[in-house]
């Protein structure tokens, strides 16, 4: 496969966000959904497992940066890399624990177990009043203190957009690296027939965990880029909001599960439909989006890119991964 098309797309979006900062938030929003779909795709698309508690990884990322920024603004600019690293680390750790234990479960049982993890962590944070508890963390003044006013505003507007785009970019790279390696073969086998895969000598848990942790680390980065950096806040009700995984799944499905370009197409469509309907018929956009999603899933079960690939000659198919 040739990953150039999706990579170039992300790079050009990053260039627009950087050089035309007045569009950075708009781009950040579109790419947020693309990158979310992309990260979800690495796990769900490649393994065929659904993780409804996926948002917990974004939340870990958000809290990682949020906590560093809130409690240690005196670190200055170092708070940013440190916070991002902590966020990603916490996501990976959570994924390792959840995955190591729950990936033994099949299908819907796994999906429900992960809901349990998401809700459990949320209730623990609120219930035991950890990290601001139910009232969350508000980071405006801390960001000003850590980065200085202008830099903080630039980071909140343009910086977070660039980081969100970078997450999408890295997700494509990760997807590419997985698909051209042994792991790609293993995951394809697991997705299609896990029992057969075992008999073929594949250790399913190992590869599922690999995909799970990769996906989680990207989700953590996305969460960190988005909430504490872009919105200067971490509210538990928002960062654990379970509908984001459904958005991610929707984006992935409209585009085509398991494809690399799919989430880009899906994310763009998902937001464009909302924006257009929102301007023409304010208040009806969720209704229309849901309708679009439902018809796509039923009539084009492979998604747009997935269906397109099916009808392309093999040479072109390489270019539309």
């Amino acid at each position: 496969m040739k990953p150039w098309l999706p990579l170039v797309t992300y790079l050009s979006l990053a260039a627009v966000a950087f050089f035309m900062p007045e569009y950075s938030k708009t781009i950040a929003t579109i790419v947020f959904f693309m990158a979310l779909g992309q990260a979800v795709n690495i796990f769900v698309g490649l393994t065929g497992y659904v993780d409804f508690g996926y948002v917990a990884f974004m939340a870990m990322g958000a809290y990682g940066l949020g906590v560093v920024l809130y409690y240690m603004p005196q670190l200055g600019f170092a708070a940013l890399p440190l916070g991002l690293a902590l966020g990603v680390l916490m996501s990976i750790l959570l994924a390792a624990v959840v995955g190591g234990v729950a990936l033994r479960l099949r299908g819907a049982y796994f999906a429900i177990a992960t809901i349990g993890v998401n809700e459990g962590v949320k209730h623990l944070i609120i219930g035991a009043n950890i990290w601001g508890g139910g009232a969350g963390l508000i980071l405006g003044s801390r960001a000003f203190e850590a980065f200085g006013r202008d830099t903080a505003l630039w980071l909140a507007n343009v910086g977070s957009a660039v980081l969100v785009i970078a997450t999408g970019f890295m997700a494509v790279v990760a997807m590419y690296l997985i698909q051209v390696s042994k792991a790609g073969y293993a995951l394809a086998a697991i997705r299609q027939d896990e029992d057969a895969a075992k008999v073929m000598g594949i250790n399913p848990t190992k590869y599922k965990l690999l995909a799970f942790m990769t996906s989680a680390s990207l989700a953590g980065l996305l969460g960190a880029a988005y909430y504490p950096l872009g919105n200067l806040q971490v509210f538990p009700e928002n960062v654990f909001f379970i509908e984001y995984i459904l958005d991610g799944l929707a984006v992935m499905f409209i585009g085509g599960a398991g494809t690399v370009t799919g989430p880009i197409v899906g994310g763009a469509l998902y937001i464009i439909v909302r924006t257009v309907v929102g301007e023409l018929l304010p208040g009806y956009q969720v209704f229309v989006t849901a309708l679009v999603l439902m018809t796509t899933v039923i009539l084009l079960p492979r998604g747009i890119v997935g269906t397109l690939r099916l009808h392309l000659p093999p040479k072109l198919r390489e270019w539309l991964p």
Partner: protein, 295 residues
């Protein structure tokens, strides 16, 4: 005050509410057992049931116990429609696509409700008196609701064990390939299970308003989906009686758990109680995925 009289109202209140929780999860459990589909749109049908109760009472003066029948019929019809229009065309193997389609349905129903009925939080008032027991004041409507919920669950269980259609459903729950081999029309069983499951869920939406007759709004469904999953798993997915009993357990955890954590001085006792509930869910899934109370 001694310990028992302190805790008894929490116990009672938990059991009463738990009975309704249990009822509300049976539909989800049935659908999962038969179709192996996790009904993400579950909460939307609870919302629909709540609106049925609200409109029936405020517009026509029809009390919830009667409008429940209406909700059962409406939910049943919608359930059949969902099976024919969403689940069947995708094919049951296509688990992921069905999940996403049901999510779209969930959004669609909530948005339709908002467009039709407005975003306000509505409610009704209907009471026929109350009595006091063990430090808790209990409305007759609540007691009747809780007992009726039990009766409905028992009759559903009887239906599954004694009638041909019910036995066919049970056969499919246990072994869908085997059921096909012995000549059961699996397609019809799926349709029936979807209709019954969603019918019961919508009916449960009406019953829930006996306990929570306020705050009815288009977006109320989400938490019920989550709670439904927890209860259905605790009870063993596919088991009706199990789901009901797990509902009781869940009611007790949230109520007595609150009491316990409050005594222990936690910042947010009710959230800690929920944390325990979800922790239990995880432990059960890992060590006894057939459910705690499989019957």
């Amino acid at each position: 005050m001694d310990f028992f009289s302190q805790i008894s109202p929490f116990l009672l209140s938990g059991l009463l509410l738990g009975s309704i929780y249990g009822l509300s999860a049976t539909g989800l459990s049935l659908i999962f057992g038969v179709l192996k589909v996790a009904n993400i749109a579950h909460g939307a049908f609870i919302m629909l049931g709540a609106y049925v109760a609200y409109f029936a009472l405020t517009m026509w003066g029809v009390v919830p116990f009667v409008s429940a029948i209406l909700a059962l019929a409406l939910g049943g019809a919608l359930g059949y429609l969902v099976y024919v229009a969403v689940v069947k065309p995708l094919g049951l193997k296509n688990e992921l696509n069905i999940l996403v389609a049901l999510f779209a349905l969930f959004l669609l129903m909530a948005e339709a409700a908002r467009i039709l009925w407005g975003p306000d939080f509505v409610g009704y008032t209907w009471t026929i008196g109350s009595f006091s027991l063990g430090g808790l004041i209990i409305e007759y409507t609540k007691l009747a609701g809780a007992l009726l919920a039990l009766a409905i669950v028992i009759s559903l269980e009887v239906f599954l064990r004694k009638t041909y259609a019910g036995r066919a459903i049970r056969a499919v729950v246990q072994d869908s390939v085997g059921a096909q081999v012995v000549g059961i029309n699996v397609d019809r069983v799926y349709a029936l299970a979807a209709a019954v499951g969603i019918g019961i869920t919508t009916l449960a939406g009406v019953f829930i308003t006996l306990f929570i007759p306020v705050g009815i709004n288009p977006y109320m469904g989400g938490p019920y989906t989550l709670m439904g999953f927890v209860i259905a798993v605790l009870g063993g997915l596919g088991s009706i009686m199990g789901a009901y009993l797990a509902g009781l357990v869940f009611g007790l955890i949230t109520s007595v758990g609150y009491f316990a954590f409050s005594e222990l001085g936690f910042a947010e006792p009710s959230q800690m109680a929920l944390f325990i509930a979800f922790l239990m869910l995880l432990l059960i899934l890992l060590f006894k995925p057939t459910g705690l109370l499989r019957i």
